[in-house]
Each structure stands twice: as C-alpha cells, then as structure tokens.
Amino acid sequence: MILDQVIFLITALVIIIAAILVVSVPKMIHAALWLILALAGIAVLFVLLQASFFAVVQVIVYIGAIAVLVIFAVMLTRKAMQDDGPQLNRYSVLAAAVCLMLFVVLTGMLLSWDGASSLPVNPAVHPDTIINLGESLTNPQGYLLPFEVASILLLAALVGAIFIGREHRAGKEEE
C-alpha cells in the first residue's frame, strides 16, 4: 500500500539522518540525543514489520535504559573531552571513504540478489506470535539453552559493571 511506503521512507530518512548526526556532532550529549531519535525511528520500523513486541522492547530497553545509561556516562565524564576539540581522529577521511565504498558494495550485492524484491508473505502475522515465542524460549528442544545462557550473561555483566564502576574507599577506613 502506498501509505506503508510513505511511512517507511519518512522513517528511514529520519533514522539515517539521526545516525549520521550521532557520529558527527561535536558535543557528546547531542550525539546521545540523536541516538535516541534513531532508536525511536527503528522502533517505528519494527511496528511496520509487525513485530510489535520488539518495538515495545526496543523502547523499554534501548531508549529507556541504554540511552539513559549513555547520558549518565556522558555527564559523568564531561570534563574529559573539551567538546570543542577535534572529535575525529586522523583516520576519519579514510574511514569515511571506506565506509562509503562498503555501502556501495553492499547495496550492489543486495540489488543483484533476486530475492531482494520479494514482498512480505501473506497472510499477515499470525496472532499468536508472542505465545509461539514464549513457548520456543522455554522449550528444551527449542531455544531454552540460549535463553538461560543469555540470563547468565546478563548476571555476569551486572556483577561486573557494579564491581568495576564502584568507588574504592579502601584508603578512607583508616582515618
């Protein structure tokens, strides 16, 4: 439908512009704010793909937690980078050229693949998608093992982040 295409094009434009601004604005806090816009655009894209659960998870996890964490970290390290100094290192021009070439090559490859112009399967998404997802994540013949490993990964990250980020008060107890 033409409405879908218009929405997709507008959203894609917003995402790309926000992403380019993320990697090029001099002030870090602005980069974090543009990242929030890019993530929100991607959530809209997930809704277009009829993966509504992932749109909501994207907003909760990425925007509500990761972006907030990035903003906190930028605030805590604000004095380090005087934001008006050079933000790009000396490889930036070469990197830009390489990335552009990479994009051209990838696009060329994608367009020459004959499955690229395929249209979405009809009928639309099965209404029990979330139930299927939940059942496969807790099914021992399904994806139970990656699920449990992911939870251990999160536990390790939690403990590690708290331990590394802690302030060490060892010297102050002797006073």
């Binding site: 894609a12 793909l49 990197a95 990838l106 249209l119 979405p120 999160l154 990250a157």
Partner: protein, 102 residues
C-alpha cells in the same frame, strides 16, 4: 508493498554509519554509540527476514532477543570500564589509553 531490499539497504546504510563512528571517533563513548547503531542494523535485518520469509518460524525473533540482550550487557560493562578509566586517568579519548602499546 515494501520490497525486502528497502529494509536491507537501510540496514546496510546503518552498518556503514556505525562502522564509521567506531573507527573515526576519539571519544570512547562515541565509539560505543557506533556499536549500538551496528547492533540495531542487525536487528532490522533479522526482523525483516523473519517477516518476509517465514512468519511462523520464531528463530529470527529469538536471535533478535539475544542481540538486544548482548547489546545491553555490553553497554553496561563498557560504560563501567569507561568510568573507571576516567577516574584513574582523567581522560576518555581512546588513543590516550595506550599503555600496553608497543
């Protein structure tokens, strides 16, 4: 109707922007933002293929959940490390933390 190639080209563009961000920024947190862009591009790719190929097969969705989980864990630990480095060296430019170089 939106052909699959549109999603894939958008995802390729995001990957390239993310790679540029990782390679060419001095601030370590900016590199992390580039990595986030790359991971989101991967998610778009996975969900697009899930939707366009076989909707009843949940592998694409499970993989996306794993990518989101890994991204969250990595951001948390990465930022903790950056803050610890900042406390010790008062700098967060990646090129200044080069003690093991050489």
């Amino acid at each position: 109707m939106i052909p699959l190639s549109w999603y894939l080209i958008l995802s390729a563009a995001l990957v390239c922007v993310g790679v540029f961000g990782v390679i060419s920024r001095r601030n370590a947190i900016a590199m992390l933002l580039g990595v986030e862009l790359i991971l989101n591009a991967v998610n778009i790719n996975l969900l697009a293929f899930w939707r366009y190929k076989d909707v009843s097969h949940v592998t694409g969705q499970v993989f996306t959940i794993m990518v989101i989980t890994a991204a969250a864990a990595e951001v948390a630990v990465g930022l903790a490390i950056f803050i610890a480095v900042y406390r010790n060296k008062r700098t967060i430019a990646a090129e200044d933390v080069a003690d093991l170089k050489g």
